[in-house]
């Protein structure tokens, strides 16, 4: 064979190889997921394991690549900037559903899943949560993680104050607070710092729900319900940790875990941390509804904490790959793994086997949700980040006597109008 023929055969082989490699790599669809469940997040390890398992099962066909985003506020900013720039933030991404992020539903860059989340897949989700995630007939995000924030009681401290059961009425609640205070214990844990004054905002949401009912957030923010709720909050402040003003949520968490405060409110994501940092406290925990401060009993703040969304694509194969992954990720077995490792709660139901304390705690949270007369979102979810930022700015001044209820609520109302 002449040199020219050898060269021709080799060139043809090389071109064939290049073509084949191109075809093979073209077959694998890479999905980008800017992910917040990374770093120190309790969900980081199980989510990573699930993605790795998916990639192994779909090797050569679909690969999910994570872009780690550790800071939630900055992540949300990134999603917002990306959509404003006309670029989908990722093939898969998450956000909290509130009036501000509901605007994402208007973006053609976000995939409408209303025709996909049907049949067997839809049966994994409560109909109410799908309804809550459907805006203007479009389902542009899957309701995934939920937040439930009952009242936590340290029954060891309560018993020391002579209280044998969780308070069932407002009178019992204040009486318990008096007894705890007399013992030198800070009865209630609060914090007014950070942008959303998180624990104090949750207390306000509890009281408002009790006073205003299931549709409390439909009322104008200057309504008497909110005026009275603020007054209750101020009364609570008289029983709270001295460093509540300006403190981060971690300070309130720390006081409760260290048995320095007896009554607290937060979500199930604090279960694993409380067990780790305060095992004795954890053994003596009880969770309940806030006693009726108003006309409504047994209400509990519950909200959609994380929605999973997908970037729109015109490529049917890519769309199918995204849906394949979403179905895999939201399968009850996988959700259970994330929940048990982190203490987080999800819309996707799964069977509890309370073999460990976190599972037992989660079970009690679920029981409270099931037996609640109604659930209601908290202030942040209901009115959006601008309103909660205004609440956070004003509430410290209000609690320390520097502003009136009217001033606080009118400031929030103005922010809502803006």
């Amino acid at each position: 064979m002449s040199n020219r023929k050898v060269l021709t055969v080799l060139t043809a082989l090389a071109m064939g190889l290049v073509f084949l490699t191109g075809q093979l790599s073209a077959q694998e669809i890479v999905l980008k997921w800017p992910l917040i469940w990374v770093g120190g997040d309790g969900k980081a390890a199980p989510v990573k394991a699930i993605i790795e398992a998916f990639n192994a099962e779909n090797a050569g066909k679909i690969k999910v690549e994570v872009e780690e985003q550790p800071n939630y506020d900055a992540y949300e900013q990134k999603v917002r900037v990306s959509l404003a720039a006309g670029i989908a933030p990722g093939d898969i991404f998450t956000f909290k559903l509130n009036p501000a992020t509901a605007e994402f539903y208007k973006s053609p860059l976000v995939m409408d899943l209303s025709k996909d989340l049907t049949g067997a897949w839809a049966k994994n989700f409560p109909a109410a949560s799908i309804k809550q995630a459907t805006i203007g007939g479009k389902l542009k995000s899957i309701p995934f993680e939920i937040g439930v924030t009952p009242v936590w009681y340290n029954m060891d401290l309560m018993n020391k104050a002579g209280i044998k059961a969780t308070p069932k009425t407002a009178a019992e609640f204040w009486a318990a607070a008096d007894k705890l205070k007399a013992l030198g214990i800070d009865p209630i844990a609060q914090n007014t710092g950070s942008t959303n004054a998180y624990i104090t905002m949750l207390w306000f949401s509890h009281i408002a729900a009790s006073r205003g009912g299931a549709n409390v957030w439909a009322k104008p923010i200057t309504d008497k319900v909110f005026v009275d709720s603020l007054k209750d909050l101020k009364r609570m402040y008289g029983y709270s940790n001295q460093d509540a003003i300006g403190a981060a949520p971690a300070i309130a968490n720390g006081h409760f875990v260290k048995a320095e405060s007896a009554i607290y409110t937060n979500g199930s994501w604090r279960l694993a941390a409380t067990l780790k940092d305060g095992p004795t406290v954890y053994e003596n925990l009880a969770w309940d509804y806030l006693p009726a401060f108003g006309a409504n009993k047994n209400s509990i703040p519950m909200f959609l904490q994380a929605m999973i969304a997908a970037g729109e694509t015109k490529d049917p194969a890519r769309r199918a790959a995204i849906l394949t992954f979403l179905k895999y990720f939201t399968a009850p077995d996988n959700v259970k793994k994330i929940s048990l490792a982190s203490g987080a709660m999800f819309t996707v139901p799964f069977t509890f086997e309370p073999a460990n304390p976190v599972e037992a705690g989660l079970q009690k949270f679920m029981t409270l949700v099931q037996k609640a007369s109604f659930t209601v979102p908290n202030l942040e979810v209901a009115l959006g980040p601008a309103a909660v930022a205004e609440f956070g700015q004003r509430v410290s001044l209000y609690l320390t006597g520097g502003a009136t209820e009217d001033e606080v609520l009118k400031a929030i109302a103005k922010k809502l109008e803006d």
Binding site: K32, P34, I36, W37, V38, G39, G40, D41, G42, A44, E67, E68, Q69, P70, N71, Y72, A74, Y75, Q77, K78, V81, S82, A84, A85, G86, I87, D243, A247, A250, I251, N253, G254, H255, V257, K258, E260, G267, W269, R270, A273, D277
Partner: protein, 280 residues
């Protein structure tokens, strides 16, 4: 003129030192708090802000280095900050030279247009920068941060260096022209060496900005290989929990380079700022 007696001086002396001491405490307290907190457990930090640790948690520093992969993050941050400073000072000094030493129509307008950027919040540039960076294919590339940090600091750099260059006596440059110096030689041989303090001041500001910046780094990078120190620190935080001990240790380590830069450069920074302030 009435002479001031020793007893009359005492109240003024006391007032001066009381005010200075208060400012010293206000300046040092956050740093001391951070140092003490970096040696506490997360649990101790959450339990009470101003207590001392039961035992010193040097392990926080070990965890900070290993968990956040600080060596890689430091390398990235140094690379970004140094190259951003070099680019910023190179471009800024050239602009400042023309604005300070040349006469041409529209000079004052150009100066105001360039320096007015100081007043514009960076958040207003996020969307156009994002479009620009993604379109030119520099997303998740450290070059994007170098370019943007250099560009964002141009107004400050032009403002500082122009003020400094204006203060250099014209006679020196005129003598150089008489000796046959060209435009570029005047810049390189005469003005630039005399404006060293101004360059150092502007460069330091740019370095501190590039080192501490978070939002743009978060926006334009997405992988560990392009992560900077400020992004790495956030990995001790999650949506609901924060591992404060190692995070404060990482913050302590992260502020050392900026403190070191300031310690070594503070004479030039102060002379650069005062020269600009008095004669600008």
């Amino acid at each position: 003129m009435k002479q001031t007696t020793g007893s009359q001086k005492i109240p003024g002396f006391l007032l001066k030192w009381t005010v200075l001491s208060l400012f010293l405490i206000l300046t040092l307290m956050p740093f001391l708090w951070l140092l003490i907190s970096s040696l506490k457990t997360t649990f101790e930090i959450e339990s009470g802000g101003f207590s001392f640790p039961a035992s010193l948690q040097f392990i926080n520093y070990v965890n900070a280095v290993s968990i956040a992969n600080l060596p890689l993050l430091f390398t990235n941050s140094v690379l970004v900050a140094v190259l951003a400073v070099a680019l910023n000072v190179a471009v800024g000094s050239l602009a400042a030279f023309v604005l300070a030493r040349e006469q041409f129509p529209g000079r004052d307008f150009l100066y105001v247009a360039l320096t007015a950027g100081i007043l514009i919040p960076i958040i207003s540039f996020l969307v156009p920068y994002f479009i620009l960076i993604t379109r030119i294919g520099l997303y998740n590339n450290l070059i994007s941060l170098i370019l943007i940090y250099a560009a964002v600091n141009i107004p400050v750099t032009v403002f500082l260096i122009t003020s400094f260059m204006k203060a250099i006596p014209k006679e020196m440059e005129e003598a150089a022209v008489m000796d046959g110096c060209t435009f570029s030689t005047r810049f390189w041989r005469i003005i630039l060496p005399l404006a060293q303090s101004g360059l150092a001041t502007a460069g330091t500001f740019c370095f501190i900005y590039a080192w501490n910046e978070f939002i743009l780094a978060m926006l334009f990078t997405s992988s560990e290989s392009t992560r900077t120190v400020q992004l790495g620190i956030r990995f001790f935080q999650s949506q609901f929990q924060t591992d404060y001990g190692p995070m404060f240790a990482a913050i302590m380590l992260s502020i050392l380079p900026t403190v070191a830069v300031y310690v070594f450069m503070h004479n030039k920074i102060i002379s650069g700022l005062t020269a600009g302030a008095v004669k600008g």
